[in-house]
Amino acid sequence: MKKKVYKLSGMHCTSCSMLIEGELEDQLGVKAMCNWIKQLVEVEFDPRAINERKIKEIIEEQGYRVVGED
């Protein structure tokens, strides 16, 4: 398993972190912990099942932007 922490922007409430976690964890082999206060999301994933580009795509489809890594 691989672990990445992404910096996000565009979040405005705890609903956003619940949404991001939900959408990411709908993917096979992904575990996500999104922190609304720090605007970070920690993603644990299986590189054979999903790649980073797809993870970022899922986040941005919800209307948020990945602005860097932590």
Binding site: H12, C13, S15, L19, G22, E25, I37
Partner: protein
């Protein structure tokens, strides 16, 4: 207490941005995962919303009741109002993105709850939308949390239930297909709705702070400022009290409170409180500085006796929600 229209419109706009983001997704999943051809999608959505409305109305009633239990005196009532005001101010400023610090005010529901709810949504069970609707009380968004603080501070179960019902009713249209419209409106509208919700919550916070001040006997309040400015404009001489007397009448009416006479500093006073047609919260009359609190129903009267303070000045009379105020003049 802010009026229910403000609460409803806050729900109407906020629901379209924060609530529907998560709850809409859960509802959509619960509906699409039901493979049974007889399952009616619209009824599923209606069941979700009704369950949500009932659950939040019960929650509002319980929070109002709990708040009432904490308010055994005017001082504790004022302190609770002040605490709710500070919390709502924090939530409002978080929604307005004034500073990252204010994000701490919006509590993130525990992850096991959101994961349990997603599991429910995928179960495809007939009752999943209903269970999810009711379970949304477990994952309140930021603005919902501010409304919950408002209901606790009200200390009134029925009012608490009304606030949460009005807010949830406001969030409902978005779930009935309007969510598609919301998605099309794009970011500019969403940001605008968020700003409205933020300012509405800040407005409610300021009102709660004002109520806290009134209940804690502060001479400074929105009402007193308005009364002074009205007098400035209309050159009125303020409330002209009759001759000082030890027997005074306080009339409670639709307009609020009117006292017949001034009282003399340090004297024993007999006050007859008469409610002619005051049907709102003015029935619950208080004189915070003297710790007096009485409920006088329309058409009824009650006798109160107290000692006037030693120092001349104005004693604030207020309803228990800090909305209606009046002055007892001490000379």
């Amino acid at each position: 207490m802010p009026n229910l229209w403000l609460v409803f419109t806050t729900g109407l706009l906020t629901g379209g941005v924060t609530c529907v983001a998560v709850q809409g997704g859960l509802l959509a999943a619960a509906i699409t995962n039901n493979q049974d051809a007889r399952f009616n999608k619209v009824l599923g959505s209606v069941a979700f919303l009704l369950a949500k409305l009932v659950a939040y109305t019960i929650l509002g009633f319980a929070l109002g009741w709990a708040g009432g239990k904490l308010q055994f005196s005017l001082v504790t009532q004022g302190v609770l109002q002040a605490a709710a005001a500070v919390y709502m101010l924090g939530v409002g400023l978080a929604l307005l993105e004034v500073h990252p610090f204010f994000r701490y005010f919006i509590l993130q529901p525990p992850r096991f709850l959101t994961r349990w709810m997603r599991g429910q949504a995928k179960s495809g069970a007939w009752f999943a939308p209903t269970v999810l609707g009711a379970a949304t009380v477990l994952i309140p968004c930021g603005t919902t949390q501010a409304m919950m603080a408002l209901t606790v501070a009200s200390g009134k179960p029925v009012w608490g239930a009304a606030v949460m019902a009005a807010f949830v009713a406001g969030t409902s249209p978005v779930f009935l297909g309007l969510g598609v419209l919301m998605a099309k409106l794009g970011d500019a509208f969403k940001q605008g709705f968020l700003k409205y919700a933020g300012w509405a919550v800040v407005g409610m916070a300021v009102w709660s702070l004002n109520t806290a001040g009134v209940l804690l006997g502060s001479p400074i309040s929105i009402q007193s400022a308005l009364a002074k400015s009205e007098c400035l404009i209309s050159f009125c001489s303020g409330q002209v009290a009759g001759m000082a007397s030890n027997r005074v009448t306080l009339e409670i009416s639709r307009g609020g409170y009117a006292v017949s006479n001034a009282v003399r500093a340090g004297q024993d006073v007999e006050m007859t409180v008469v409610n002619t047609d005051g049907r709102g919260c003015q029935q619950a009359m208080t004189i915070p500085a003297l710790g007096i609190s009485k409920v006088v129903r329309p058409g009824q009267s009650q006798e109160i006796s107290f000692k006037a303070p030693q120092k001349p000045g104005k004693l604030l009379i207020s309803c228990s929600m800090g909305m209606y105020t009046g002055d007892l003049i001490v000379i």
